[in-house]
């Protein structure tokens, strides 16, 4: 993506208050044209509120929202060229599938026959043409989901808003829809803003992710940034599985910090701005970045014993207890069993990692 890319949605200092409760605390973010953007966070973090503010269902207490340069926060929903896919789909139950998809086109002034022709093409795109005369209640959840998508895309909105649209589907269908959504976004070139609490879903689909918690933005970045370089405790803990440790900084030199884990164990990692010798900070190490060995590696090996091996399908999770120190989870891919060693419970071994696997976090 180039830096000259147009900004689709620009949220500036948006605040949302319900009485005394502040749901959104001064959120600012820019969503680029043609981007698959995800708002990710636990329930109650304000992600849906922000989406509904962009759609026009919630008023903005303070701040502004721009859509391609036009200020929209005071416009009613029907005056905003954005469409929403609702969590419960909200298909009009008294209308046929075709009329549902044609609704937005008709309301925009298309003639009934034009609207129906275009709606028919939209249904073809989501492969539901044969159901056009049915009522929504006669369709399965996955089919209703695709109708909701077709209905929202039919009027060719500038931005498509998706409010946890996959949460009601079973795992297999959800995985298939994730890819379908991603392809649909590429084909149509419409900016997608996707709300989810499922971090795996967010990592799979998004160009960029905004991680939110308690009405604040915690980190904004590409999936790899968010996963591999979590900025703070919340992001490291919320995204994926990680070993979170409290460490004290023993020494800093040449951008490296030597950290004490307890029990005499020490680790070297990249230093963080603003930490001093003696300060207590949190550290995150992804389990798949660790590996075990019978003999210590050249530097940074931690001695301990295996407590338990847990089979999780593709991987094996090994819980390791360091001598007088914290527990670690080490993940070994099943396909790697030839190269990396799995130890039986009770076995003494060493835990190793590359420099950069351990990251210090802002609280």
């Amino acid at each position: 993506m180039t830096t000259s890319q147009a900004v689709a949605i620009d949220v500036r200092n948006a605040v949302k208050r319900y009485g005394d409760f502040t749901a959104l605390k001064k959120i600012s973010l820019s969503i680029k044209d043609n981007e698959f953007f995800t708002l990710l966070g636990p329930s109650g973090c304000g992600k849906t509120t922000l989406l509904r503010m962009i759609a026009g269902f919630e008023d903005v207490t303070e701040g502004e929202i721009f859509l391609y340069g036009e200020e929209i926060e005071d416009l009613p929903p029907n005056k905003r060229p954005v469409n929403t896919v609702f969590q419960n789909y909200a298909l009009f139950p008294h209308m046929t599938i075709l009329d549902n998809v044609a609704f937005g086109l008709e309301m925009r002034g298309a003639s009934k026959s034009d609207a129906r022709t275009q709606a028919g093409e939209m249904l073809e795109l989501v492969q539901l043409s044969q159901f056009s005369t049915r009522k929504p209640s006669q369709l399965s959840g996955g089919q209703q989901q695709r109708v909701a998508l077709a209905r929202a895309l039919a009027p060719q909105p500038k931005v498509l808003l998706l409010d946890e649209p996959l949460s009601a589907l079973d795992l297999k269908l959800r995985k298939a829809m994730q890819l379908e959504l991603k392809h649909l976004q590429r084909e149509t070139g419409i900016t997608f803003i996707f709300v989810t609490h499922d971090q795996e879903e967010a990592l799979t689909m998004s160009d960029r992710i905004a991680v939110m918690s308690a009405g604040e933005m915690q980190q904004l970045g590409a999936p790899t940034d968010i996963y591999e370089r979590p900025h703070n405790m919340f992001v490291a803990d919320f995204i994926g599985e990680t070993n979170l440790l409290e460490v004290s900084v023993d020494g800093i030199a040449e951008g490296r910090a030597v950290c004490h884990l307890g029990g005499g164990h020490e680790l070297t990692c990249n230093a963080l701005d603003g930490i001093n010798v003696g300060s207590k900070v949190h550290m995150s190490i992804r389990p798949e970045r660790l590996f075990m060995s019978g003999e210590p590696e050249k530097d940074g090996s931690l001695h301990g014993r295996v407590k338990e091996n847990i089979f999780v399908g593709t991987d094996i999770s090994t819980i390791v207890e360091l001598d007088d120190g914290p527990d670690f989870v080490v993940r070994t891919s099943n396909s790697d069993r030839g190269n990396k060693r799995i130890f039986e419970p009770g076995t003494e071994m060493f835990v190793n990692m590359e420099l950069g696997a351990a990251r210090l976090l802002v609280d």
């Binding site: 026009g56 929903p77 929403t84 909200a90 298909l91 609704f103 937005g104 309301m107 209640s137 929202a152």
Partner: protein
């Protein structure tokens, strides 16, 4: 298959009580219905099957009175049902979609309270009201009184239906470029329709059957079917009363049945 000796889902021994209740409820109606087909002048002696009392209603000495009363009853019931259903639809929309306003709970109670007030109290109050504003009693006073007391009856099924409609439908409509008015007419109103029809039929039947309030507010010489029947009975019971009652019963049953099926039927499937 499993034996039926032990079924956790059913209670035994209630069949008899159910039957007894049904007999107590329906015995009087069945007796009236059967004797309306009696050939005899007598109310109680069975002398064979005949439609003479039905013929008497339409062409006997009292037929003019009954026809006029029936016409009044249906005109009043249709006007009262149309107007009260319209008001009730607006009231339900305001209550369920009006957002949070002060005294909302109180308003809910106040709309359905008239259902619990003894009808004689409503009748007296309505009469005093018309007298105090100097409104001449006649057909018009009956229509106005019926509109008023039918509103809560029409309101109940409409409001019940409306509370089951999620507001996300209207949000979706507005998201798809519909104005508020279009969202109401194209989405909310069609979804409310089963409740509205059910409310209309209920209001219609309540108006058609009303006696107490009608009797208080009607002008001299203006009769509805219930008051005409009452007037006839005062001059002595004749089997033609049973015939006309049976016909009124038939209309009621048809209306209630339609109302039931309409409220069950769903335009969403």
């Amino acid at each position: 298959m499993a034996s039926k000796q032990f079924d956790i889902k059913t209670y035994g021994g209630f069949k008899g009580i159910t039957l007894l209740c049904l007999v107590v409820l329906y015995a009087p109606l069945i007796v009236v219905t059967i004797y309306s087909f009696n050939a005899s002048q007598s109310l109680t002696n069975w002398e064979g099957l005949s439609l003479r009392w039905y013929a008497d209603v339409f062409s006997g000495p009292e037929s003019a009175k009954f026809k006029e009363a029936a016409k009044n009853s249906f005109v009043i019931a249709i006007i009262a049902a149309v107007v009260s259903t319209s008001i009730a639809t607006l009231a339900a929309t305001g209550m369920v979609r009006g957002g949070k306003f002060k005294l909302r709970t109180l308003s809910f109670g106040l709309i359905s309270l008239p259902l619990m007030v003894p009808e004689i109290v409503t009748a007296v109050a309505t009469l005093i009201f018309f007298n105090s504003i100097g409104f001449d009693r006649g057909l018009m006073t009956i229509v106005l009184a019926h509109i008023a007391f039918c509103i809560p009856f029409a309101y109940l099924p409409i409001s019940a239906r409306m509370q089951g409609i999620e507001d996300s439908y209207e949000q979706a409509a507005q998201d798809l470029y519909a104005t508020k008015r279009q969202a109401f007419t194209k989405i909310l109103l069609p979804l409310m329709m089963p409740g509205i029809i059910s409310g209309f039929l209920l209001a219609f039947i309540v108006s058609l059957d009303d006696f107490i309030i009608t009797n208080f507010v009607k002008g001299a010489g203006v009769e509805t079917l219930p008051t005409a029947i009452f007037g006839s009975v005062k001059q002595g019971m004749k089997p033609n009363i049973m015939a006309i009652s049976t016909m009124l019963l038939g209309v009621s049953i048809v209306m209630v049945t339609i109302s039931y099926f309409v409220s069950k039927s769903d335009n969403t499937k």
